[in-house]
């Protein structure tokens, strides 16, 4: 047999063998290394989403990428400076965990945090505190703009000192009408440079805080503080000044201090001459503090004596008369000032108490105005006995100080029904969470302790008005007494909505803004993230080192071998070999003229 014939037979035999093997389709079990699955979790911002896409692309060749948290994955890659992680996903996180963060040298700006009161009165300026981070933008200017109703209402321009700088900006919004006010904070780097945006909402309400002034005997201090408050449209002042036994001068609808139901109408109570309060009145105040969560301001004319000492805690007073008078400055950055010559302060602040204003008559200052929690309420104690004497605008900002303090206290008193939407600005159809606290139930712990058999009952319902139709929102009891949580789906039509909660006879509500484009502040927790991934066996890399991520992951992962059923004849490559063998055999025969 010639060599040529031998080759032809070999080719034919190969083709027949392939056909026979394909018909049999043998199965083989082998130990193989599987392609690792990597879970990629990104932050909320558009920038993080873009970065996540880059990470997925870089890993796709060597790994199976899952764009979500997956407990059985081989590893997790967290993308961005603030990836979405709640308690559950942290617990189920596949380890090791790695993080890919934006390049700090890249020129970019981000809004880390925006702080704004969710509810504000109409007659006030609403502070909007913005924390901005600028990367790779040394000596550039950053314009931080607050916009409302499509127009700019405030703007601050700051210069960036170094390449990785975080700074705060204080903007303010002036409400022009009651209702939900959608606001936008935009930070822009230079002219037409990188920008970041955060959407927020303030619920502007034209409601007034009910405040009770109660003087067991006439007090100059209380009188002038009351006059200051009466000039402020944000308050509805009721007052009761006991001038002599059984005779009192009253304005509005004041209550007796031992009338708990009557007192619950007020957000704050200001007491003049608190030394003269009786034991029953002090008990009434304590009830107001603990079960109403109310706020009490005590305006002393002399170091505390009498039953009131029980409320303010164990205090050893130091009283002093200063000549000339001394300035009393708030502990926070507020610009208001008091002045007094007769004043007192505790030698040591009671446990849990916090200073509100310092007398500047000593290098370290003395806490002349301070506050302390009592139950869910708060009590403010003023030792600036004769600050009313220096109420002239040239001496101090007496009026503004007390107006601000009383407003802060009254606004902090919990409403009958508190409604908090986790993210009040959402996209159409997006899911949202709401938390409701019913005060009557939540703060009735004292009663509960006294008579545990008395059940606390509350009927709660929530709804969103969509195009005139009430869409119910289911609420479920949460961890705390009187606390409910619910989940809702945002309406499909962009606009402003209100989520209304009815609890017994009380109503609470919160605004909900639905917009097609929603941006949120993206807090950067780089250091926390670095520590987090280090504790989970991983490391942090910046996006410029992304090309090295597959190698890092490969080094860190132990490829798991697993038994796998394999059908070798199911590869299409056999077809190529089969056709090639037949074609070659046919060509050789034709060349020899056998056909």
């Amino acid at each position: 047999m010639s060599r040529d014939a031998l080759l032809r037979y070999a080719l034919r035999g190969t083709a027949i063998a392939i056909a026979v093997a394909a018909a049999i389709d043998p199965a083989v079990t082998s130990q193989r290394n599987a392609k690792p699955e990597i879970s990629v979790i990104a932050g909320q911002s558009v920038r993080d989403s873009t970065l996540a896409a880059s990470v997925e692309h870089a890993l796709a060749k060597n790994f199976t990428v899952l764009p979500a948290s997956f407990a059985r994955a081989s590893a997790t890659v967290l993308v961005g400076t603030a990836p979405r992680l709640d308690d559950a996903s942290i617990a189920d996180l596949a380890l090791p965990a790695f993080a890919v963060t934006p390049d700090t040298n890249a020129t970019q700006i981000s809004i880390e945090q925006v702080t704004v009161p969710s509810v504000a009165p109409l007659d006030a300026r609403v502070p909007v505190a913005v924390r901005v981070r600028a990367n790779g933008a040394a000596n550039a200017s950053v314009a931080i703009t607050l916009a409302a109703s499509g127009g700019t209402v405030d703007q601050i321009v700051k210069r960036v000192a170094n390449n990785n700088q975080e700074f705060d900006a204080s903007l303010s919004y002036l409400p022009t009408a009651a209702g939900a006010a959608p606001l936008h904070v935009v930070a822009t780097l230079g002219v037409g440079g990188d920008s970041a945006r955060a959407d927020l909402v303030v619920d502007v309400r034209d409601t007034r805080w009910p405040v009770l002034f109660y003087d067991p005997h006439p007090s100059w201090m209380s009188t002038f503080v009351r006059r200051a408050a009466e000039r402020d449209r944000r308050f509805v002042i009721s007052s009761r000044v006991v001038t002599t036994n059984g005779i009192a001068t009253e304005t509005g609808q004041p209550s007796q201090l031992d009338d708990a139901a009557g007192l619950s109408r007020f957000d704050a109570i200001v007491i003049g001459a608190p030394d003269a309060l009786t034991d029953a009145e002090v008990r009434g105040l304590e009830m107001f503090l603990r079960e109403r969560g109310g706020r009490v301001v005590l305006l002393f004319d002399a170091p505390a004596t009498g039953p009131i000492r029980r409320l303010i805690g164990p205090v050893e007073w130091i009283a002093k008369t200063e000549n000339p008078s001394v300035l009393i400055v708030p502990a926070d950055a507020d610009s208001t000032r008091l002045r007094a010559s007769a004043l007192a302060w505790p030698r040591t602040l009671p446990q849990g108490a916090q200073p509100l204003a310092w007398a500047t008559n000593a290098a370290s200052g003395h806490a002349t105005v301070w506050q302390s929690a009592v139950g869910a309420g708060n009590i403010v104690v003023s030792g600036a006995f004769d600050s009313w004497r220096y109420r002239d605008a040239s001496s101090s900002t007496f009026t503004q100080y007390w107006q601000t303090l009383i407003a802060n206290e009254a606004s902090a008193a919990p409403p009958a029904v508190s409604v908090r939407i986790a993210r009040p600005v959402v996209q159409p159809g997006e899911r949202g969470d709401v938390t409701v606290i019913v005060r009557k139930a939540a703060l009735r712990t004292t009663t509960l302790l006294q008579s545990p058999s008395t059940p606390i009952q509350s009927t709660v319902s929530a709804s969103i008005d969509v195009d005139g139709k009430q869409t119910s929102v289911a609420l479920w009891p949460a961890s705390g007494v009187g606390e409910f949580r619910g989940e809702f789906r945002a309406p499909q039509t962009p606009g402003t909505y209100r989520l209304v909660v009815a609890a017994d006879s009380e109503i609470g509500e919160a605004p909900l803004i639905v917009a097609n484009v929603v941006s949120a502040a993206t807090p950067s927790d780089k250091d926390l993230l670095r520590a987090f991934v280090a504790s989970r066996g991983g490391q942090t890399i910046v996006v410029s080192e992304l090309a090295g991520l597959p190698a890092i992951l490969t080094r860190s992962l132990r490829p798991a071998a697993r038994a796998e059923l394999w059908h070798p004849m199911r590869s299409t490559w056999w077809l190529v070999v089969f056709i090639a063998a037949l074609s070659a055999e046919w060509w050789m025969r034709r060349r020899r003229g056998l056909l």
Partner: protein, 704 residues
């Protein structure tokens, strides 16, 4: 030089002149071109005539410079001719070179070349070789364009045709293309008029006349001011829509200009512009005496005073004088003589003057006790203005033993009487203390002395009261001897309250007590006298303190509100209740907040058109209505008006930027009037935890 050579040179000279003519025309055209650009760009020529003169000057300057720079040499001219006419075959160039080589006329070759060159030149015309037609055409076009620019300046109706017109107005819509303002200060100020073009704000001296010239397309133009005055501007020059009106600058405010659309129907919108008006009042002059800037005591009546004074005014001073008042006499008879002293005035400028005078007082014939009150008085040119006076100073020639300006101050011995009565008490107490060691006679004698002192003190008060004590002493009797019994009886009258003046009552009571004390002392009853003496002292103190209060006059503002005094009958005390205070909203804040909302709404809109412009202008007017004198609000109004102008030009980006700037500025002004809203509360859960922690940390009970 041969005739042919001369002919060639003459030909070249003609060509040179032609080239200079062309260069001059080009230079003039260039100068006029510059003038056209400057005129169209609004370079501030005040008048058409001046702009024309400047244009002609630029043209002439360009012409001269060009001619001076164009002085071609003969070879260059020959080369130019050869370039223009190649048929010359270099004969002109060769001939010119032979001319420059000073070749002899007998040279055959040279003669032959010159002959051919002259023959060629005879066939050529310099004006055709170097044609000035194109240059003159360019000059003519430049002149025509310049004339058009001047015409446009004189007549805004042509502005729409101009290539550099800022915008093209919508058919049927009113436009305000230009506002010329001439602020003419009041005649007395002698200040030149100020000319402004399209101003956002006008600063004018009070009393100025603001002449407005409004150019644009409009059927009518009305002008409105803050006080509601509406002026219909008059059409100035026939077919062209130029309107003029005069506004008196009498206070801060605005001038709102509204142009009514020339037609009705679609697209017929009015145009509106707002100009802030800040009026600077003409302040009164400030005048002061710089030396001697104090009261002085004259040593004698022949003393001379060296007085200097200075005065200043914001516009200009009119007069500066020194006036005096001579005061003569005493008690109830005073004589006042007024006069004026001529001053030697040095005028540093119209607004700042200083004056001095050496003033001998001989002419006043001052007598001891007389005094001269002098002060400087200045006026400015403002009609009807009140003269400003400096502080007045006193020069007094004291009376012998007299005290300068006595009676103008409180008597330093006001407590003398009380002290005297105290002395009587002290002596009485001393006598009582030493009584045990004294004889009866000694006691009686000492008591009599004290009684005499008591009567003297009493007499002082009787004289003080004008002798109104009921029983006036017998003129023949001793001044200190009074009918004590009669006086004591009068106390019932006092008790009956017939005298209302409590100070007077106290004084009368003190006199009665003194009488009783003196009577007791006269009978050596020292122990009885002492209480009366003390009562007298107490009454005296009361009387003087009351007197001092009564003597203090209360102004209208200081009137006591008797309804707020804590006085009344205890039985009238009842529970008092009233409504809660309901403070009114600050109208300024309300108005500005409403305006802010509208600005934000306007900024959020997408269109920059005539309606946006009108809305912005109306908002600017509202802002100024709130407080026309507030500089911050003036700036906001000006920005809003600029936004309106940008909207008229359909410049959306600029309109929005200006509206945003107006909103942020207005918000900054409003922020000053509002307190900060409370920060976000921590929430009931945190509060409850806080309270629980505090309860856990503190020991039971409240004692420290």
């Amino acid at each position: 030089m041969s005739p042919d050579a001369k002919e060639l040179r003459a030909f070249l000279d003609r060509v040179g002149r032609q080239l200079r003519l062309i260069a001059g025309a080009h230079g003039a055209a260039f100068g006029l071109g510059l003038a056209v650009i400057a005129t169209l760009a609004g370079w501030p020529f005040a008048t058409v005539g001046r702009a024309g003169a400047v244009g002609i000057a630029l043209g002439a300057f360009g012409c001269i410079i060009s001619i001076l720079l164009t002085r071609p040499a003969a070879p260059a001219l020959a080369a130019y001719v050869e370039r223009r006419v190649p048929q010359c075959r270099n004969v002109v160039v060769t001939g010119t070179e032979l001319l420059s080589l000073n070749t002899s006329a007998n040279d055959y070759v040279a003669s032959l070349v010159w002959r051919d060159a002259a023959r060629t030149a005879r066939t050529l015309t310099a004006s055709r070789i170097a044609s000035a037609r194109r240059a003159l055409t360019v000059l003519g076009i430049a002149a025509a364009i310049f004339a058009l620019a001047l015409a446009r300046m004189a007549n805004p109706a042509l502005a729409a045709l101009a290539p550099l017109a800022r915008h093209s107005a919508t058919a049927g819509a009113a436009t305000i293309d230009r506002i010329d303002v001439i602020v003419t200060p009041p005649p007395y100020a002698s200040l030149p008029p100020t000319t402004l073009h399209d101003p956002q704000r006008i600063d004018a001296l009070a009393g100025s006349t603001v002449n407005l010239s409004v150019r644009g397309r409009a059927a009518a133009v009305t002008i409105e001011t803050l006080n509601g005055t509406r002026i219909a501007a008059t059409q100035r020059n026939g077919a062209y829509t130029a309107y003029t009106a005069n506004v008196a600058a009498d206070g801060d405010g605005y001038i709102a200009i509204q142009a009514t659309a020339p037609s009705t129907g679609a697209g017929a919108t009015n145009a509106r512009r707002l100009i802030g008006l800040s009026v600077t009042p003409d302040n009164a002059p400030r005048v002061r005496i710089t030396a001697p800037a104090k009261d002085i005591t004259l040593s004698d009546a022949h003393t001379a005073l060296d007085i200097t004074a200075d005065a200043a005014d914001d516009i200009g001073l009119a007069t500066l004088r020194l006036r005096y008042t001579k005061v003569s006499g005493a008690d109830e008879r005073y004589t006042f003589v007024e006069g004026e002293v001529p001053l030697e005035i040095t005028r540093r400028d119209a607004r700042t003057w200083t004056a001095r005078v050496h003033w001998p007082l001989d002419s006043l014939a001052l007598a001891p006790g007389d005094m001269v009150v002098y002060r400087a008085v200045a006026t400015d040119h403002r009609p009807g203005s009140v003269a400003s006076e400096s502080d007045a100073y006193i020069a007094e020639l004291p009376a012998p033993g007299g005290n300068a300006a006595a009676g103008f101050s409180l008597d330093p011995t006001e407590d003398r009487y009380a002290v005297s009565q105290q002395m009587v008490i002290m002596k009485t107490e001393r006598l009582l203390a030493g009584k045990s060691g004294m004889s009866a006679d000694a006691i009686s004698s000492e008591a009599q002395d004290i009684a005499a002192e008591q009567r003297k003190v009493r007499a002082e008060f009787v004289f003080m009261m004008g002798g109104e004590v009921a029983d006036a002493p017998d003129p023949s009797s001793d001044m200190t001897s009074l009918n004590e019994t009669a006086e004591a009886e009068g106390e019932s009258d006092l008790a009956a309250g017939r005298m209302f003046n409590q100070g007077r009552v106290a004084l009368q009571t003190a006199i009665r007590a003194m009488s009783r004390a003196a009577t007791s002392l006269a009978t050596s009853n020292v122990a009885t006298a002492l209480p009366s003496e003390r009562e007298a002292l107490a009454q005296l103190e009361q009387a003087f303190s009351r007197t001092r209060i009564i003597l203090r006059a209360l102004t209208q503002q200081e009137q006591l509100d008797l309804t707020r005094r804590l006085s009344g009958s205890l039985t009238d005390v009842v529970r008092n209740s009233g409504p809660s205070a309901n403070p009114a909203a600050d109208p300024r804040v309300t108005a500005l907040r409403s305006t802010l909302a509208e600005i934000a709404s306007l900024s959020g809109g997408q269109n920059a058109n005539a309606s946006t412009a009108a809305a912005a202008s109306a908002l600017a007017q509202r802002v100024l209505t709130v407080d026309p004198s507030d500089a911050g609000l003036q700036a906001v109004a000006a920005t809003l008006d600029s936004a309106g102008t940008s909207a008229t030009h359909s410049d959306e980006a600029r309109t929005r930027a200006q509206l945003d700037r107006a909103a942020t500025s207005l918000a900054a002004l409003l922020r000053r009037n509002l307190l900060s809203a409370p920060s976000a509360p921590s929430g009931a859960t945190i509060d409850r935890l806080n309270g629980a922690l505090t309860d856990a940390l503190r020991p039971a009970g409240g004692a420290p």
